[in-house]
Amino acid sequence: MGDPLSQVFAALADPTRRDLVARLTDGDATVGELAAPYQVSVQAISKHLKVLEQAGLVSRRAEGHRSPVHLEAEVFDLMTTWIERYRQRAEARYQRLDAVLAEMNDDEEAGHRPAREETP
């Protein structure tokens, strides 16, 4: 379970855990409150929360079902930053591709036009 980002993604690979995180964006909640809508035991939800906690996604001030679970929004900001940087690099690459494609267009117009433009 190497680096932190892998832990974060792995923690979020489970649909129940993603749902828990989504619900915590509304505000802190106790384990009991979080478990209420599910068909599974409070214990099972506790286990999921432990995984989220180890990945740094949520925190609890104390163990126990009454202690509110808090979403660590900063970790999400970090992931968003990472993915956005990756996106920007892809976009920079595709802007260079735009330029190459524009030149191909010019070449085609200067030379023989593509077949589909020749048909009326």
């Binding site: 680096d3 993915i83 990756y86 595709y94 190459v100 494609l101």
Partner: protein, 177 residues
């Protein structure tokens, strides 16, 4: 992200939470045939691939089903080699493997599709299936390792403060094509 009714004039990206996949979608003012050529003609390809400030030299290039490729990117005097096989090359679809030679055991399967949107516009969808979440996330993280390293600094700070439990920082270097 496969929805062709919305526009993607700038690149959109999606990291699948359940599979180690990265999806990128981008629309181009070109025909599918032109976009296909820009991906298969080595001279054209070398002109746009790689991060800003990288010079790309094509070493091997046989863009047909069953062919293979290798190119080297040079950035700040450092060389990054990449290679793979063209599994399937068709006008609307390219499937290829992709390995960064700095981590030769890791291989991603890339599927590129070119969808005609009409009016000489084409949507590119690039799906990269990595061989593990760790590898996928290393790719996502690679965006941070060239240029401003804010995210990493921030993570180091979090780790230093003990705010992320059970994890030691690891700075696996990775170049990105």
């Amino acid at each position: 992200m496969n929805n062709t009714t919305t526009t993607a004039t700038t690149a959109t990206i999606e990291a699948d939470p359940t599979l180690p996949i990265i999806h990128i979608t981008r629309d181009f003012a070109a025909t599918p045939a032109q976009l296909f050529r820009a991906h298969t003609d080595p001279e054209l390809f070398a002109r746009w691939v790689g991060p800003d400030g990288t010079t790309t030299t094509i070493d091997r290039w046989d863009a047909c089903t069953g062919g293979s490729w290798r190119f080297v990117g040079t950035h700040d005097g450092m060389e990054f080699g990449f290679h793979g096989c063209f599994h399937e090359v068709r006008p609307d679809r390219i499937v290829q493997t992709f390995t960064w030679e700095g981590e030769p055991d890791a291989v991603a399967l890339e599927t590129l599709t070119f969808t005609d949107l009409g009016d000489d516009r084409t949507r590119l969808h690039a799906q990269s299936l990595c061989d593990s979440f760790e590898a996928r996330d290393a790719w996502l993280r690679s965006g941070m390792e060239v240029g401003v390293d804010q995210g990493y600094a921030k993570l180091d700070a979090l780790l230093g403060a003990g705010e992320i439990a059970g994890a030691a920082g690891r700075g696996g270097g990775r170049a990105q094509a």
